[in-house]
Structure formats: structure tokens, C-alpha cells
């Protein structure tokens, strides 16, 4: 029974992420520091367009979500890792991997992966929010109450935005 609720709440969490990320609220200011701005700096080539990659990994993401729902979390993690090799800066993939680790009760990993996801989610407050929710719960599970409180503050900060 508790497992059922855990899964249910996690799928709700995932839904929340999807809804937020497709409908972003006001974006956090992002500083791009690629050009030192000195007169000697060279022109910066733009990184390769990654337009098609979300489509490429979408199938894998779906596959992983299904497996995780069926309780095959190890396989789901392998598939997410594969997707991350193709698109390493996709915060959703990192977040989902954090979720899988949470269902596996590997809370320290869940926390670290959600923090990692945040580094790529500067333009996506929706995912940041979902990450901090997960971080708060993972820290609580590890007995880190003050850390969990810290994470909940971040959640509130993002909700106020």
C-alpha cells in the first residue's frame, strides 16, 4: 500500500513537471558567461542546434516511464542513462533518473541527481520546482531535517514567482 502511494505521488510529481515545463512561468534570469567581454575576446561559435534531440530521446523517456511504473526500475535507469548519453543537458532526463533512484530508495543519489538537474534547468522553473520537492523528500528520508527545510524554502520561493 505505501508503495502504491509512493508511485502515485511520484507519477503526480512527473505530471506536474511536464505541465510546468510545457507552460513555463516567468523565467529566472540566466547569465550567459561565454564571452569575457574584453576587447581581445574571440567571437563565440554557437553550440550545435539540439532541436531534434528531444524527439530522439522522447521514445526512450516514455519507455523508461513505463518500466518504472511496472516496477522495473533498474531497466528504467539504464534507459534513462542511454538517453542522457544522447542528450546530456536535458534537465528532465536527470530529474526522471532522480525519481527512479527515489523509488529504489537510494535517497542520496536521488538528491544528487535532482541537484544536477537543477544546473541544467536554469531556464525552467517548473523542473526546478519539481527537483526541490524531490530533494526535500530525499533529504527527509536521509534524516537531514534542516536540509529538507532548506529545500522546502526553495520550493516556496519558486511557487511565489
Amino acid at each position: 500500500m505505501p508503495n502504491y502511494f509512493k508511485r502515485l505521488s511520484l507519477s503526480l510529481l512527473t505530471l506536474f513537471v511536464i505541465s510546468c515545463s510545457t507552460n513555463p512561468k516567468q523565467e529566472a534570469p540566466v547569465i550567459d558567461i561565454n564571452d569575457p567581454g574584453s576587447s581581445s575576446s574571440v567571437s563565440v561559435i554557437k553550440p550545435r542546434a539540439e532541436v531534434s534531440k528531444p524527439i530522439v530521446v522522447a521514445g526512450l523517456q516514455q519507455n523508461a516511464a513505463e518500466l518504472n511504473r511496472k516496477g522495473e526500475s533498474a531497466k528504467a535507469a539504464s534507459i534513462l542513462e542511454r538517453a542522457l548519453r544522447i542528450q546530456p543537458r536535458n534537465p528532465k532526463l536527470w530529474h526522471e533518473l532522480a525519481n527512479v533512484r527515489y523509488t529504489q530508495e537510494r535517497y542520496q543519489q536521488a538528491e544528487s541527481l535532482a541537484l544536477r538537474s537543477n544546473q541544467y534547468a536554469l531556464r525552467d522553473p517548473g523542473i526546478q520546482h519539481a527537483n526541490w520537492v524531490l530533494i526535500a523528500r530525499a533529504r527527509q528520508k536521509q534524516g537531514d531535517s534542516s536540509g529538507a527545510a532548506e529545500a522546502r524554502k526553495q520550493v516556496q520561493k519558486l511557487q511565489r514567482r
Binding site: 547569465i31 574571440v42 531534434s52 530522439v56 521514445g59 548519453r85 541537484l115 544546473q119
Partner: protein, 773 residues
């Protein structure tokens, strides 16, 4: 009465004696013979079990298959057609006019049509597919299903099979089946070593008698009477002991072995097991491995005279070593050719012709069995580190590694090309300079290429893993990061680079660190001290922050070796291997997230079930802001610091971050650097510690730049949220200044920590005149 008694006695006597004798016999039987027979039977059973165990264990061992990283194909992938064709070649796909079965392909202009092979990966099955891959200038443009023309978003090819290994053994092995061994080799072996092999029961009594006679006549051992079966047994329990009991044991085991197995089984095991030489720590067992080791070719490609040499070497692999004693080896080979002629295996002309040929032994003594010995060395070590021994001993494992053969090849080329150029340019003895390179995929912490020798196929000393050398200035980012972490310092904090005297508790003399240019630079902003690798400012900073804080930072970044708490540590007296340096820089490159570098993705057992591994740990050891600041600082190293030459060496706009390292008397030349996706660490030096005559930037960095010109690297991108603010700083005073000043540079700061003091444009009158006129 007396007569009666007499007769009774007389009568009784024979009866008594008749009765007594069987009782005596029975006693002997009961107390001596029976136990002896029982002990003998028990002993025979023991021998039988142990020899069968040994025989079966070695005979049925199936090697683990090792695979490289598979190629993922999807639209938008920056992969040129030529790179796909190179991969197909590695996978042994055949080029045909009309692809009709898995493993075939066709090239039509800018498109490649192929039928992929089905493959069971650790995360699922990949079915065979008919694909048409369309290329444009930037790479893969579109992938479609050949018949339906339906667009495909992702396809994975089967991975390249890079090696077969025996994870439990330290040594390389190649096991062959009897049918793979040339018949001539089998016949020659029997002719020379054991003529009655096909007929005897494990021992050859007449051969033993003959040998005994010769040996007594000569007064020493000149001839052995061992059959192939006895030799095989001896090989299983290799000892130099030559006692009688040993011989009897061998003989008994030989007979027992023959009772259980037929001649072909025994011959096959013999061919795989016999000791044929030594390569440093590595024993050469079996004809197939010996064939690779001495001739660099497969058994089936051996020439007759080479077969004769190997067969001859069985008698004494070190005594007849063709590399050390070519004359002796030639005499022995010719003796074998004579025997082969005698037995009708060769005619006279053939024999004479073969006798005249040279030994043709491969000169590269350490030729490895695989194309990637340094990488496989890492795989073997990580297997033992991450998996349980008992799991590794099961047969038929499949090991999926992180090797990228394309990047590996480019790394090998970059190293060997630059080493030659450096030897020419600095007039060093050709062929002596050595190097090691590791490349990692930053996001996954996967090791994608390892080179441990200038001859990448050499299986000797693996410098990438085992050359533990002082790291010099590569240690500095840890010092600066420890300072930034205190939040007492920012990139613009002013550091003192004037004369410094450090008292040393463990030595009489004080230490006065010097800069590489032998000058002192007064007050310098922190980012400048890092960019130009100023020693004195770094030592003062490290002492101020505290040696313990710096050492803790090194441990956080992933160093796992005891570090001495001496001030000289701040300038990199700490010695690490290139792999350990890669681990440390991996954490920096991955924005402060520590993950152990790995070379194995998964290991599947014979039922395609993944083996349990010790869990991996990922943890954030540096916070996002500090990580951004140090990465920015290291980016500036490549912009105007010790690595500024990179601007001209790399494709325009390929932003990078890195650090050069040079040790005392130019003994070690290091560079560790990364872009968005790949990190590489390069070490160059001499094995005997002789100076190289070049620095980190004129040596190792040249290899790094050559590599990053050929791999598809993405420029380093640093992003942050509002916890960081960008401020214009005067590059000399470290004060806030205006963006239009010539000496202004924009630097990141933790919000609220940027300097408050404002300076106008420094020496801007002259600059203004320069600009105007």
C-alpha cells in the same frame, strides 16, 4: 599315552600350522595390505577428482566477450559519412551492391543503406532493421526505414567486439579447438614428443625404460620419457620439483585422465595448456597465444618452419627462446624438421628449403592481443573493483564498455604525431619520449579512450594508470577553489606575489618559492595569479587558507591517496597517475559533481541477466557558484594565461578550460583541459625521469589541442542564475571599472561580493591616443 600324545602332537602339528598360516595371511591382509589398498584407492580417487577438476575447469572456460560503446544514430548527429563507414568496417559489415542480410551495406552518394544486426543489449533487444541514412554537411540528416520510408528517430548499431578476456586470470589466453589447429602441427608434436601417443594408456613404459637407460649411461638426465598426457598433467601443477613421488603422481594422473577422456580431448587441452615462454610477468601458455606472441599471427596462418620452431620449443621454452638464443633455436627447429622428414611429413626438398629460412620472429615483444591494451587494462581493474569474484568466474560473460573506438584512434594519432614532432623540435633522442592520454565523457563520467604508451598496441607499462608523477601546477585549481569556498576571496581579490620565506618544520632550510619566470609580480588579482600560474602568490594563498583545507578539497575532488601536509604540496609535489588527475578534473568539469570514472556500463551473464555491481555514488562536492567561478578562472587560463596559445591552436570559438603543469627541470609536462562534453588529461615525460626540455604548454597541451581539433567537441558553456552577477573589473587593480576601458574584463561574482572600489580606465590617456590615431 605318550605315544598317543606324540601321535596327537604329530597329528596336530600340521593341522596347527595349516590353520596358523591363513591367520597370519589374514593378519597381514587386515592390518597392512587392506589399509594400504584402501589408502591407495582413496589416494587414486583424490588424484582422479583433482585432475578431472583441473582438466574440466580449464577446458570449458569460455572467455568473456568485451564490447565497445555502440553507435547511436539519429537525425542531427554530427557524424560524417566517412565516420559511419569506418564504424561499419570495425563491425565487419560487408559492402555489397544490394544489402540482403544483416551486416551488409551499400553507399549511394550522400546516403548509406544498411541492414543492421539484431543485438541483445543490457537495456533491451535491438532488432535487425533496414535503414537508409541520409547525410548533409553537418552530419546525419534523416534516417528512414528502407521499405516503408517511415522516418526513424533513433537506431543503435551492434557494438564492436574488442576483445575476449578471462576476468579471473591475470594473463591473456587464447583457447582453440582441435579443429582450429593445423594438422601438421598436431602430427609434428606427436612425432617429436610422443610417437605412441595414439596407442599408449597415458604412460609409455618402453619410452621410460629407454630414457632410464640413456640417463644411467650418461650419468645425468639427458632424455625424458614423459608422454604428452604426463606433460599435460605436469603443466596443470607446475612445480620445478623432480622427485620420484612427483613422477609417480604424474604417471597415475596421466593414466586416470586417459580413462576418462579420449585422445583428442587430451591433445586439445595440451595444445592450449603447454608452457611456451615468458613475457615479463605474463606466462605464455598454449600454441595459439605463443603464435601471436612470437609471430604476431594466428595458428592457421603459421608457416611450416614456424610450426617446427614452436613444436621444438616445448622441450625448453627459455633455453630455446628464439629472441634470446636465435642460433640454439634454429638448431632445435632444424632437428624438428628432420624428425618431420623422417616421419614422412615433409619431403627432402621441403625440409632443406625450410631449414634455410630465417626464424622470422616478431620483434615487438610486447605485442598485445587486443587493439586497445591500455583501455582493457582499466576494464580488468574495474571489473575486480566493482564486481564480485564469484560472479566473474561464471562462463560466457558479456562486458559492455565505454570505449569509443573513433576517439581512441584519434587520441593515439594525436599522441604519436606530437611526440615525434617534439623530439625533432627539441632535439631529443628519437623514440624515447613517452606519454599517456585519457579522455572522458564529462556528463556520464565514462572513460572513452586510454593510451598508455607511444606505441598504443604495446601491452607493457600502462602509463595512463601506473605512471605516478608529480602533478606540478595541476594542483592549483584545488588551492584556488579552497580559497573561493571560504567566501573570503573572489576572482578579483588581490594576492601578494612578492618574496616569500616559508619555515619548514621538518627541514633545516627555509623554503623560498620562486615563479617560473624568476620574477615577483607584486599585487595581482586572483584570476591573474591562476591564469599565469604564479607560484609565490599561490603558496601564500594556500598557507592563508590552510593546508588542511586544500588537502580536503583534493579529497573532495576525488584524490584517494595520502597527501603529505607540506607547504611544497601547494606547488604540486603530490604525485598522481594520469587516471587520478582525470578523476580530479572530471569533478571540476562536471560542475562540482563527483562520480567515479567508469569504463564498464554493464556485465551480462550467460542468461543475459545483468550482474550486480557495487553501487555507484554521485555526489555534489563543490557548490554551483564556486564551481562556476573556478571554471571561469580556468577558462581564462586558456584565454590569456599559460594556455593562451590554445586560441590559435583550436578551431575558432571552441571555448575550453584547462591548466598546464610543468615539474622541476622540465621532467613532466602536463595538461588537463575540457570543453562542454569531453575532458582530456595528457602527460609527457621520460620513463627514467630525464628532463624533456619543454613545459606543460609547449608539450602536453600540443597533444591536447591536436586531439580536440579532430574530435567533435562542443564549446564550453557556463551558465548561472541570479546567485551570480557579472561585473567589469580592471585587470590590473582588480577594482570595478567601466566596460569601455581597454583593461576591463567581465568577471563572475557571487552576488554582493564584487569589489566596491571603482577605478577609471587605467593608463587610458595613452590608450585613448592609440585608439584615436
Amino acid at each position: 599315552m605318550a605315544g598317543k600324545k606324540k601321535t596327537q602332537r604329530r597329528r596336530k602339528k600340521p593341522v596347527r600350522s595349516r590353520r596358523k598360516q591363513p591367520r597370519k595371511k589374514r593378519k597381514i591382509w587386515r592390518y597392512i595390505l587392506l589399509p594400504a589398498v584402501l589408502v591407495f584407492i582413496a589416494y587414486a580417487i583424490y588424484l582422479d577428482v583433482s585432475i578431472r577438476d583441473r582438466f574440466e575447469g580449464n577446458r570449458w572456460e569460455i572467455p568473456a566477450r568485451v564490447y565497445a560503446s555502440p553507435l547511436e544514430l539519429y537525425p542531427g548527429l554530427a557524424l560524417q559519412k566517412s565516420a559511419l563507414l569506418a564504424e561499419l568496417k570495425r563491425l565487419n559489415y560487408r559492402r555489397v551492391n544490394k544489402p540482403n542480410e544483416p551486416g551488409t551495406y551499400r553507399v549511394q552518394g550522400a546516403a548509406v543503406t544498411l541492414i543492421s544486426r539484431a543485438f541483445a543489449f543490457w537495456d533491451g533487444e535491438e532488432a535487425s532493421r533496414q535503414l537508409r541514412i541520409q547525410f548533409d554537411q553537418s552530419g546525419v540528416q534523416r534516417i528512414e526505414q528502407l521499405v516503408t520510408r517511415e522516418s526513424i528517430s533513433l537506431a543503435r548499431l551492434d557494438p564492436a567486439h574488442i576483445a575476449s578476456i578471462y576476468p579471473r586470470h591475470n594473463e591473456d589466453r587464447i583457447l582453440v579447438q582441435l579443429k582450429e589447429v593445423p594438422v601438421l602441427m598436431q602430427q609434428a608434436l606427436i612425432a617429436v614428443e610422443d610417437r605412441k601417443f595414439k596407442r599408449h594408456p597415458g604412460i609409455d613404459v618402453s619410452a621410460i625404460a629407454r630414457a632410464l637407460y640413456s640417463n644411467i649411461k650418461a650419468g645425468k638426465t639427458v632424455q625424458g620419457g614423459s608422454t604428452l598426457t604426463q606433460q599435460l598433467v605436469k603443466n596443470y601443477f607446475l612445480t620445478s620439483e623432480r622427485t620420484l613421488s612427483r613422477k609417480i603422481n604424474e604417471a597415475m594422473m596421466a593414466v586416470l585422465l586417459e580413462l576418462h577422456y579420449d585422445k583428442d580431448d587430451i591433445l586439445e587441452s595440451y595444445l592450449n595448456e603447454v608452457y611456451l615462454g615468458q613475457d615479463g610477468q605474463r606466462s605464455i601458455h598454449g600454441f595459439a597465444l605463443a603464435s601471436q606472441f612470437y609471430f604476431g599471427r594466428k595458428l592457421k596462418h603459421l608457416k611450416t618452419e614456424q610450426i617446427a620452431l614452436l613444436v621444438g620449443m616445448v622441450k625448453g621454452p627459455s633455453y630455446f627462446d628464439p629472441r634470446k638464443h636465435p642460433k640454439r633455436a634454429t638448431r632445435r627447429r632444424n632437428a624438428v624438421l628432420d624428425v618431420m622428414h623422417e616421419r614422412g611429413l615433409l619431403d627432402k626438398n621441403e625440409r632443406n628449403r625450410f631449414k634455410k629460412s630465417g626464424l622470422n620472429v616478431n620483434s615487438a615483444q610486447k605485442a598485445a592481443l587486443t587493439r586497445y591494451p591500455a583501455f582493457l587494462d582499466l576494464v580488468k581493474r574495474q571489473l575486480r573493483r566493482d564486481y564480485r569474484d564469484e560472479d566473474l568466474s561464471s562462463a560466457g560473460l558479456r562486458i559492455f564498455t565505454t570505449l569509443r573506438p573513433d576517439i581512441q584512434l584519434k587520441t593515439e594519432q594525436a599522441l604519436s604525431g606530437k611526440l615525434k614532432a617534439l623530439e625533432r623540435g627539441y632535439r631529443l633522442t628519437a623514440g624515447r619520449l613517452q606519454g599517456a592520454v585519457l579522455v572522458t565523457d564529462i556528463n556520464s563520467a565514462e572513460v572513452v579512450a586510454v593510451v598508455g604508451d607511444r606505441k598504443p598496441r604495446s601491452s607493457g607499462f600502462n602509463r595512463a594508470l601506473d605512471a605516478v608523477r608529480p602533478i606540478g601546477s595541476l594542483v592549483k585549481p584545488a588551492v584556488y577553489l579552497a580559497a573561493l569556498k571560504t567566501q573570503q576571496y573572489s576572482l578579483a581579490s588581490m594576492l601578494n606575489d612578492d618574496f616569500l620565506r616559508v619555515e619548514q618544520a621538518h627541514e633545516d632550510k627555509d623554503w623560498t618559492p620562486k615563479n617560473y619566470d624568476k620574477e615577483y609580480h607584486g599585487q595581482v588579482p586572483l584570476f591573474q595569479a591562476l591564469a599565469h600560474s604564479y607560484n609565490v602568490a599561490t603558496v601564500r594563498l594556500g598557507m592563508d587558507v590552510g593546508l588542511s583545507a586544500v588537502i580536503d578539497m583534493l579529497y573532495d575532488l576525488g584524490v584517494r591517496r595520502p597527501i603529505n601536509k607540506f607547504p611544497s604540496m601547494l606547488l604540486g609535489t603530490l604525485a598522481l597517475s594520469p587516471l587520478e588527475v582525470a578523476q580530479m578534473y572530471q569533478t571540476l568539469a562536471a560542475s562540482g559533481f563527483y562520480s567515479p570514472l567508469r569504463s564498464i556500463r554493464a556485465v551480462l551473464d550467460i542468461n543475459a541477466e545483468p550482474l550486480n555491481r557495487y553501487p555507484l555514488s554521485v555526489s555534489q562536492v563543490v557548490d554551483a557558484e564556486d564551481s562556476l567561478l573556478i571554471n571561469y578562472g580556468m577558462h581564462l587560463v586558456t584565454k590569456f594565461g599559460t594556455a593562451s596559445q590554445l586560441s590559435s591552436l583550436l578551431p575558432q570559438g571552441l571555448n575550453a578550460a584547462g591548466k598546464t603543469g610543468t615539474t622541476d627541470k622540465l621532467r613532466d609536462s602536463w595538461f588537463a583541459g575540457y570543453t562542454q562534453d569531453y575532458l582530456s588529461v595528457v602527460w609527457l615525460g621520460h620513463d627514467d625521469d630525464k628532463p624533456t626540455r619543454f613545459t606543460g604548454s609547449s608539450g602536453a597541451m600540443q597533444v591536447w589541442a591536436s586531439l580536440f581539433n579532430t574530435i567533435d567537441a562542443q564549446p564550453l558553456q557556463l551558465e548561472s542564475d541570479d546567485a551570480i552577477e557579472m561585473t567589469w573589473i580592471d585587470i590590473q587593480s582588480g577594482n570595478r571599472t567601466d566596460g569601455h576601458c581597454q583593461n576591463a574584463i567581465q568577471l563572475p561574482f557571487r552576488r554582493g561580493t564584487a569589489p566596491q572600489q571603482h577605478s577609471g580606465c587605467s593608463h587610458n590617456i595613452i590608450d585613448w591616443f592609440k585608439k584615436v590615431f
